[in-house]
């Protein structure tokens, strides 16, 4: 099996604080790999380092390409979609403008977007800032689906969403996982258990566990690694 993403000895320091201390892991092509850990262990920083949004040392290979000397927009164009933790839709732009801005392909796949999120079609002229949290999350995910990117970095998509919306979101990500590789940062272990095939656990900036998602069924291990009860 080839890897969509390979990270070797990745270090990140921000404002004198050593956030990532030489992490190494791979994300195999296809399915969902979950990146887990307590708050502040460096999960979001890992995604940002992959995208070149923070200074780092170490090797990052995206879809087989070494990205060491590449700037963010070039890395993204290798085929990475990024759904950030706080959605980061452009509030002053309409839904249609947010989507238009995300078009990188000459033939953006609006059919796929509207098949998953029909509401976005009816709200095309609405300002993104006036959407609900769930609708903004739809828009944030829709932006990365337009281009058929093979690798998606999805950061805490369920954060701040009502339980019903979290279930719908998980269903959506499950369908997306059939067409793209997803590296998922998520605190909701039920969502992780439903979606992920593999897990990578960070603690204090280091990888402390890698394995199958079924490891989350081991309550003792989950308690030890994440400080929470298992996701059975």
């Amino acid at each position: 099996m080839t890897n969509a993403l390979e990270i070797r000895d990745l270090h990140v320091s921000i404002a004198g604080s050593h956030i990532l201390k030489g992490i190494t892991f791979e994300v195999p092509e296809g399915g969902v790999t979950a990146l887990l850990g307590r708050n502040g262990v460096g999960k979001t920083t890992t995604l940002r380092a992959v995208l070149g949004l923070v200074n780092h040392t170490g090797d990052v290979h995206v879809l087989g390409t070494d990205t060491r000397t590449m700037v963010t927009h070039r890395i993204v164009r290798l085929g990475i979609g990024y759904v950030p933790e706080d959605r980061d839709v452009f509030a002053g732009l309409s839904v249609a403008e947010n989507l238009r801005l995300a078009e990188r392909s000459s033939e953006p796949d609006y059919d796929a977007v509207y098949a998953l999120f029909p509401e976005l079609r009816t709200r095309a002229r609405q300002r993104a800032g006036s959407l609900s949290g769930g609708q903004q999350q739809m828009l944030s995910i829709a932006r990365v689906l337009l281009n058929g990117w093979p690798l998606l970095l999805v950061d805490e998509p369920s954060k701040g969403l009502a339980p019903k919306l979290v279930t719908e979101l998980a269903e959506t990500l499950e369908r997306i996982a059939n067409i793209a590789t997803i590296l998922l940062v998520e605190q909701n272990l039920a969502v992780v258990a439903r979606l992920a095939q593999r897990i990578v656990v960070l603690d204090h900036g280091e990888v402390v566990h890698q394995g199958a998602a079924s490891d989350l069924g081991d309550a003792e291990l989950t308690q030890q690694l994440l400080g929470v009860a298992g996701a059975s």
């Binding site: 927009h73 993204v76 980061d88």
Partner: protein, 301 residues
């Protein structure tokens, strides 16, 4: 009544010039957080570019095309100066606001010194077509043709910029970049190119403002310090209108132009308070900031 109408007309023309000077400044700060004190230099260089091209044209080119060519030269001159400034001096300094301020102030001072050295301290006379210094009379109201030019330029630019920002991909990129440039990069967009384009647009508008200021308010004279004197009002217009807002700059430019014109006439000339027009603009700024700190249309300061 005719006095009021005349003042309103010239106030709108002055507002149009202020808008042209402020629009680029507002875009550059709004998108890139670059407080560009070299904007005055762009205006001055625009006016000098217009003068330089016009003085090299055959004497027979005295008609309407003369002004069109001067405007074209000013726009290109301002845009070129802005592109070089962004690529060479500003690009290595993104994220270092103090360094940007110092560099742009230094650049402006150096440009003024170079122009003084190269062209002398005397103002140069911009060749203009005869009709542009004439006026039309409607009833008792005298309407200088140069005011028409400024107002027409202001309308064309506000419509063109609004169209560009609302309808084109680059425009949408710029508006998105004002909100969150990191996310724009994360969508695979080369923000650096958009930054340069914004500088170029800002420089082009500044060049146009510099030339029209000479034509409309400076008796067709071009001088090394004209951009800097206009820059002060451009900053005031940007703050009143709201950072990053073209619409805000247009409305604020209009208000500032009218307030200054009326205050100059009624309080300056009649009440003997010289420079009251300028003072009234500063008072207006204070009132707007007290009432609405982020300006009429802008994001929070």
């Amino acid at each position: 009544m005719s006095v009021v109408l005349s003042l309103a007309f010239s106030g709108v023309a002055l507002g149009a010039i202020y808008f042209l000077a402020a629009s680029g400044l507002s875009l550059i700060y709004g998108l890139m957080d670059v407080l560009n004190f070299a904007h005055g230099m762009f205006m001055t260089l625009g006016a000098y570019a217009g003068w330089d091209v016009a003085t090299h044209l055959p004497i027979s080119w005295g008609g309407a095309w003369l002004l069109v060519i001067e405007i074209g030269a000013a726009v290109v001159g301002g845009a070129l100066a802005a592109a070089i400034t962004e690529l060479v001096l500003i690009r290595p300094l993104y994220g270092r606001p103090l360094a940007q301020v110092l560099v742009t102030i230094g650049l402006d001072l150096a440009a003024v010194a170079l122009l003084l050295g190269g062209f002398g301290s005397n103002s140069l006379t911009l060749p203009v077509p005869l009709w542009s210094i004439e006026a039309s009379r409607i009833g008792n109201v005298i309407l200088p043709h140069s005011d028409f030019i400024a107002i027409a330029a202001g309308i064309v630019v506000v419509v063109a910029l609004e169209w560009f920002l609302r309808r084109t991909r680059y425009g949408i990129t710029i508006r998105a970049g004002v909100e969150n440039r990191e996310m724009v990069r994360a969508l695979g967009i080369d923000v650096g190119r958009a930054f340069t384009l914004v500088f170029v647009i800002g420089g082009a508008m500044a060049g146009l403002a510099g030339l029209l200021y000479s034509v409309v308010f400076s008796g067709d004279l071009v001088s090394p310090l004209q951009g800097d004197s206009l820059l002060i009002f451009a900053f005031i217009v940007v703050v009143i209108g709201g950072l990053g807002s073209i619409r805000g700059s247009a409305v604020a430019g209009l208000i500032v132009g009218l307030v200054q014109d009326f205050a100059n006439y009624y309080l300056g000339a009649h009440a003997g308070l010289a420079q009251f027009g300028n003072l009234s603009v500063v008072l207006l700024l204070a009132v707007v900031l007290e009432w609405r700190p982020r300006g009429l249309f802008g994001r929070a300061l």
